[in-house]
Symmetry: C2
Subunit: 783 residues, 2 copies
């Protein structure tokens, strides 16, 4: 779902969108330009900032502002802010090495568009100019930050860094962060930054691709070192669209934060109360996808959180990513590990068509106490926790709606109802079967069709403070189990994007061009077409042979295919040694179909850039043949691919296969999220047939996925030093099924990790060593 | 200083006392008895409680109420509480196995006197009847809990246990707790107990003797497991009179507590922010004593505490007990250890005649990293901490007014002034020398005689919220460094006890009788006199010899002495084996002068009870001779003595000497606080000559004191299994000086602990093994 698709799918809301644009223009006209200070360049901007008084508006001229480091220092007053705004919202492009730092009081920034650049500092936007000069009562609104990535994923920054107090980020669109660091972070070190009452509301957090390792949260509120601070940040009415960066979409690491009425749309992660206590998670929507086990819900660690009125739909995540994951803690936990769950309240939530939605004692690892230090053993089950008045509906029935990873004796279940379609499950006092049906209020939102207000409710301590339901209906007059008392007067229109982000975004110019197909009949035409082609174009190879001497640079979505699938075109690459036929650049997304790729021993078929992989690349090879290369794929350190897929492809006579093991710092990073090999033949690959590595002990890492199915490996691994044909050390999810291994000179076909999601079945192994499973792998502790 | 002495020394305040008694009587008369429900026994009381309505008063008849377990469950209303009160305040004595538990809303308890008993439950008074029925908006006032100890010090209870919210303990007198457990504790487990806004105010916390191990705080606010909870308890206007239980007089273990305007009078401990953060310590008086290094001030651990307007006088404590001890933390500390100090504010305090008052990085133990686990190493220095606008005065000059146990680079010193009498000290930017003098406002309170308002002040973040000084003078009109801007309009009268505790206490009947002297000339007269004698009496032994067959029970303060110091009376004890001549009971305080004590090998000279040592005992032996016993002193497990003093006494021909090593659980406990041996002769003591033990690693323990001076040890230790003559394992303070050791068949005279305060000098050692010092002793970790 892209933003465009969303708006198309919500034509009924187009009128609202138009209306709000008109209103916005109107308000602009209301403040005639003579009130504003019009600036055309940095010098004028700085001068205007220096001289600004409360109530002043500084208007940045439309156009490109490159390499500007805006230091917006000013002292407005309540009701009379100093405003920095775009001449036309969305027409002021901040690019190059640019950033914006605010200091002072009552400042507003409106309508800027950060694109085609990166911050030269620690943040794109920061609510502080230096340690002693923070901003208070200031606001970033109606602005966009898009793909504003540093050159490599290991280079850290934030895109919006909150400091000070009473600051706000609202109606912004922020998407595409690939480099290390949360997208938005609240900094709480220093008394001037606590009790901040910041607001992050009505924003559209667009897709953040998986990073392949930690530190890719969309919002992080503090860190473990400041996790005792009172924060009081409000995150409300935001849309999180496929925020897949890492396991935590939101990582709350401070106290008294509130998360209200947000939509988590197919985001591969959870809202996690990682550190800090007493958070409120109320009235949020967690929308999953039947096809993804990565999409989570709420994961709880710590004390005193209230989880109320939330709606969980179609979530298939497990354990750490389960719809509700209440974790086990570490006894007397170190500050940066897992505090025991106590005094948590989970009341009036609804789970619809989720798998094993309620999980308790998640992360229990008592069985690993012999291989991990005591300070890593999560043996403390949740206590003094109440789970009451919740509603569960499973359309197919759920064998295990409540999962107990440890004893449940610290949980009080009261007056929860479940329709499990008659399927039996372990009975729990306080979880009662009830027959009721649902009706669709709108896409993704199913509400009880029956009146459930007759069912008894448990009245726990301060439950009377839950005054409304998910839709804002009062619970005083009529009340019921679950998040929903009755249908709302108005539908929520969850995926109506006009509710989130700037009203001017996306721009018309952002719209996708119509895709083209080029036919090339010579090497020079091929080279030219790869250069000229635009996002999504296809290049048909009509000749039988192409001779390349320099790499083809792939920096967009491209498909190369033989014109005639039955007469595969040959691409013969004889470039310099250690250079690739296809150089995968940031955002390069290459599909090869029906091609024969040949090297001359010293070359690589595919490789990432050695440096400056500011975004990920993807590679799909179908119905093709690859031979005569030093490496099939060489992924350099800091490069990352979300998908590498080989299908019905033959790989022969290469010194190395797929090399995805350059992240050797053992900090949880890895070089590719998903590697799918299906129906392929590997023959005569000397070593590193598949070499895929993730290092560092981090129980919350759920990534690295390798699926190898229906493929054959013959006479491979003759030069393998590790003695392992398919090396998957530290990868969490591995599936080797239906493969044939014959005459591979290795000790092990594979060494799988039993404690994780590593599986194998139906493999034929002949003269190829063993396929072994080790329950626990020794890994370096990261913390 | 006892309460009586205080009131004598404050005759000027007697009129106020009278006035308040009169007012109290008047208010009682205002509520005529016909409004109250008069009850004479438990049955009537329970019935009255059952039937009570808002506004009702239940009046307990004067007299003894023994073995009553009052369950005060009721629901009063704001302005219409249900009151449980004494017919006459102080004349309702609750004794025996009694306790009081409150549940409900708006309850008041007034005028009860808990004495001569102990709680049969976990608390004497508890603001809860069970887990689900706590009290809110309830109050204990004008009451006394005195010596209400459980039978042994290892039996744990609390005297006042707070649960619920908005409860109050005020105008009470509480003293004498000897058993394990804080005197007052706030319990924060469970959401119904957080954000409690309890008040503990205007109480008189009378002497609490040292316990000889941990868990003897006067007030504990939470525990480490609930240290993330918001508490908001206010502790204000209390007097802490020699609250010596352990190193923490107040142990704050939760967040947002406030300590205001309390007087800590010669209390051997500190106000400690042990766990939890964001406490306010404002306007308190810490009064020390030139003769004690045990009296501390404020010790800080954690984040965001504000220490303002405090007055520290004559404090001589060191490191953990220094006037201001800002500790080092443990990296990523476990929940129950030492969180790093960050964001702390120490502003506008005054230190007068304290020794090395400001200490930072206290507890740094990086040099012990080879013998302690990493999780015990306090290597994290305080950071983001501001120390500003403070005033220091030293009448003799202080070589080291600021002590840096670690780097000071995390501390910002600004605009602090010191008068160090010209004595040089390590210069620190932000600590400036200033010539000024002090004048005595009243006893223990010295204020600047010069106007210091001309000195520059540092204006830090939110310093404007420090609106008044120690005396409540506004800082808006006139401001100055230190706690005091100018003299108050009225003197604080710090030690005017009428400001604290009940107005009716002490009762006239509590007054001490005139001490008597008995002369006894026979064994039967001796036995009779010991029984009849009252607290403080003296018994003169006029005969030359007394023959005892059963132990003399010592349960009060008694002196036994020879009538003629030059003709020592002989007490010959031939009771049963393993029985003592003098059986030291709880509160037994025995002084022997000029006596000869003889046993017949199998007996003990002195021993504690084997069980039920509900209070401590003390023993002093002067100018005497002890011989022929199995043990000179046998201290059983759970017994405790504050002082054991032997002076000018000869000990010969005993199988064992002083055995004070029964606390072998290694939880920090020990059997005696102070052992002083001076000018004594030990000869022919077979083993355990002095056997004194404290086990368990706990850096905050400061106890166990052994001083052996000018004494001789000859032909001792022949049967010693430990090979050590004077065994002091784990004792923090040891001083062996000027002694002669001759012909003792041991390997070591002593093995001292170099890292602690263990010293030796001028000892002559002949044919007696070695006296060695070990820098670090291996000790069992307690946490």
């Amino acid at each position: 779902m892209t933003k465009q698709i969303l708006s198309v799918s919500n034509m009924t809301k187009a009128s609202l969108l138009v209306l709000s644009v008109v209103l916005s223009l109107f308000s602009f006209i209301e403040n005639p330009n003579d009130k504003g200070i019009y600036v055309k360049n940095s010098t004028e901007l700085n001068e205007a900032i220096d001289q600004a008084n409360p109530g002043d508006e500084i208007i940045m001229a439309n156009g490109d502002w490159n390499d500007v480091q805006i230091r917006f220092l000013g002292y407005g007053k309540e009701g009379q802010p100093i405003t920095l705004k775009a001449e036309t919202p969305g027409k002021v492009f901040i690019g190059g090495k640019s950033d914006l730092k605010l200091g002072g009081e009552y400042l507003v920034v409106n309508g800027l568009y950060f694109i085609n650049g990166a911050s030269p500092s620690n943040a794109v936007i920061e609510f502080a100019i230096n340690e002693d000069t923070v901003a208070n009562h200031s606001r970033i609104t109606n602005s966009v930050i898009l793909d504003f990535n540093k050159a490599q994923r290991n280079e850290t920054d934030l895109w919006v860094l909150f400091k000070g107090r009473h600051n706000q980020l609202d109606h912004c669109y922020i998407a595409g962060k690939s480099n290390r660091g949360p997208t938005v972070r609240i900094d709480l070190a220093g008394n001037q930054n606590i009790k901040n009452y910041h607001k992050i509301n009505n924003n559209y957090f667009g897709p953040r691709p998986p990073k392949g390792g930690p530190s890719a949260e969309t919002i992080q509120l503090g860190n473990s070192y400041t996790s005792m601070t009172p924060s009081h940040t409000l995150v409300a009415h935001n849309f999180f669209d496929r925020c897949n960066g890492e396991v935590e979409v939101i990582s709350s690491k401070s106290n008294f934060n509130e998360f209200r009425n947000n939509v988590f749309y197919k985001s591969e992660g959870s809202l996690v109360t990682r550190h800090g206590n007493y958070c409120i998670i109320d009235g949020n929507y967690f929308i999953g996808d039947t096809n993804s086990e990565q999409i989570g819900g709420v994961r709880l660690i710590g004390t005193g959180h209230w989880v109320t009125n939330n709606y969980f739909y179609n979530l298939k995540g497990k354990t750490f990513r389960s719809p509700l994951a209440v974790m086990n803690g570490i006894p007397k936990s170190p500050l940066n590990r897992y505090i025991q769950v106590t005094d948590v309240v989970v009341v009036h939530n609804t789970w619809v068509n989720c798998t094993s939605p309620l999980q308790f004692g998640v992360g229990s690892n008592v069985d690993q106490k012999d291989i991990l230090p005591a300070s890593e053993i999560r043996s403390e089950r949740p206590i003094r926790t109440i789970v009451a008045n919740n509603l569960i509906y499973s359309d197919k029935g759920d064998k295990q709606p409540v999962v107990a990873h440890d004893s449940l004796d610290g949980i009080r279940f009261r007056n929860n109802l479940i329709n499990n379609q008659g399927l039996s499950f372990r009975k729990l006092p306080g979880v009662e079967t009830k027959d009721f049906s649902l009706s669709e209020l709108e896409e993704n939102v199913l509400i009880p069709a029956n009146d459930l207000s007759g069912s008894a409710l448990y009245k726990g301590f301060e439950f009377d403070q839950i005054t409304t339901d998910l839709f804002g209906n009062s619970r005083a007059e009529q009340n019921a189990v679950g998040a929903i008392v009755k249908a709302p007067t108005q539908k929520p229109n969850l995926i109506d994007i006009s509710q989130y982000g700037p009203d001017w975004f996306p721009l018309n110019s952002d719209k996708k061009d119509v895709v083209k197909t080029y036919s090339v009949r010579s090497t020079s035409q091929l080279i030219s077409a790869v250069q000229k082609a635009k996002q999504g174009d296809t290049i048909r190879l009509t000749a039988s042979k192409y001779k390349l001497k320099t790499p083809l640079k792939i920096d967009k979505h491209l498909t190369l295919q033989s014109a005639d699938i039955h007469k595969k075109a040959i691409i013969h690459y004889n470039g310099a040694a250690k250079t690739p036929a296809f150089e995968m650049n940031p955002k390069g997304q290459l599909t090869l179909k029906g091609l024969i790729l040949k090297g001359e021993k010293a070359q690589y078929a595919f490789a990432s850039l050695k440096n400056n992989m500011s975004s990920l690349y993807n590679l799909t090879v179908v119905d093709s043949e690859i031979s005569g290369f030093d490496y099939v794929l060489k992924a350099y350190k800091y490069s990352f691919s979300e998908y590498i897929q080989l299908k019905s492809t033959v790989i022969t006579d290469c010194a190395n296969g797929l090399e995805l093991s350059e992240e050797t710092d053992d900090k949880g990073e890895y070089n590719a999220e998903n590697i799918y090999i299906d129906n392929c033949r590997f023959k005569g690959v000397g070593k590193n047939v598949i070499d895929y590595y993730r290092g560092g002990y981090d129980e919350s890492t759920v990534g690295g996925n390798l699926v190898v199915t229906n493929s054959s490996f013959t006479q491979c691994g003759a030069k393998e030093e590790s003695e392992i044909l398919l090396n998957t050390y530290g990868i969490i999810n591995v599936n080797l099924s239906g493969n044939k291994f014959r005459d591979n000179q290795v000790k092990y076909v594979a060494r799988l990790w039993g404690a994780k999601n590593n599986m194998h079945s139906d493999n034929e192994i002949t003269n190829s060593g063993e396929l072994i499973v080790e329950e626990n792998l020794p890994l370096k502790l990261m913390y």
